[in-house]
């Protein structure tokens, strides 16, 4: 193999490579421009999946949602299973605290399982909530809706629990499923399951 032939061959190959490289650079620049546009959108979003319907567990999703809305975030809270009760017009006002299986309760499980103990624990909790100036679940739902939080009720669980759209608090989004929640979660900065 002579030195001349080799040099010519390499030069031709370099020309081809260079053309391919230029095309690739153009492609990457286009992609970068798109990424910059996305990054320029500083609208933060949060999706919370709320699955619990006890008085204590109804709080965290609503507190985070209303606060995030105050930060200007786009917030969706997708309520499923017992979480639906939080959005149920009647049940929402009568959420209960379970005395059983809660290690933070100042009573042994054997005692907590006695009839009336859940009601007692719930009454005590409600009194503490009042005394502390902690917002009620209704207040948190109201401010959340006022500030643009999308409170969604899972359609499948609504049917499972025999709830109608009319049973739910006004302003709640119904007729939505897992795909709707996932679509929002995929783009969300914060995703929580509570």
């Amino acid at each position: 193999m002579s030195a001349d032939t080799s040099a010519t061959g390499e030069s031709a190959a370099e020309d081809v490579d260079l053309a391919a490289l230029r095309t690739r650079v153009d492609e990457l620049e286009d992609q970068l421009a798109e990424v910059d546009v996305d990054a320029g959108d500083d609208q933060r979003t949060m999706t919370i999946i709320a699955t619990k319907g006890s008085l204590d567990m109804a709080y965290p999703p609503l507190i985070l949602a209303s606060t995030a809305a105050a930060f200007g975030w786009d917030v969706v809270v997708f309520h499923t299973f017992w979480g639906l009760d939080v959005l149920h017009e009647e049940k929402s006002e009568n959420l209960k605290l379970s005395a059983v299986g809660n290690p933070s309760m100042p009573m042994p499980n054997a005692l907590a399982a006695l009839p009336g103990m859940d009601a007692l624990a719930t009454r005590m909790m409600r009194k503490k909530i009042d005394d502390n100036g902690t917002a009620s679940i209704q207040e948190l739902i109201d401010v959340s809706l006022e500030s643009g939080v999308d409170l969604q009720a899972c359609q499948m669980t609504m049917e499972l629990m025999d709830y109608d759209d009319d049973d739910m608090i006004d302003g709640v989004t119904t007729q939505v499923g897992a795909a709707t929640a996932l679509e929002h979660m995929a783009d969300a900065d914060v995703q929580l399951m509570i």
């Binding site: 606060t67 809305a69 105050a70 930060f71 100036g133 207040e139 006022e146 500030s147």
Partner: protein, 81 residues
């Protein structure tokens, strides 16, 4: 009360706890014009950190100051833009 800030409106959230001081402050700021100063009166000790954190990551507000009184925390927030 401080006189160093030219207060436009006062929001009283005394007796309310997290997240209400921040949530109500946000709602009140929505009703203000740029340049207006909101005075927030709170008894929630967490409101000092919460309102500062909220103001820090919210574009259209600026925290002018916070004062810790005997029973009341006073926050001054200006609407910008």
């Amino acid at each position: 009360m401080s006189t160093e800030h030219d207060v436009t409106t006062t929001l009283d959230v005394k007796g309310q706890s997290c997240p209400m001081p921040v949530v109500k402050t946000r709602q009140q700021v929505d009703d203000l014009a740029p340049g207006d100063v909101l005075e927030v009166l709170a008894t929630d000790s967490g409101s000092v950190s919460d309102i500062a954190g909220w103001a820090n990551s919210t574009d259209d507000v600026e925290l002018l100051g916070q004062e810790e009184g005997a029973d009341v925390y006073t926050h001054y927030v200006r609407k910008v833009e």
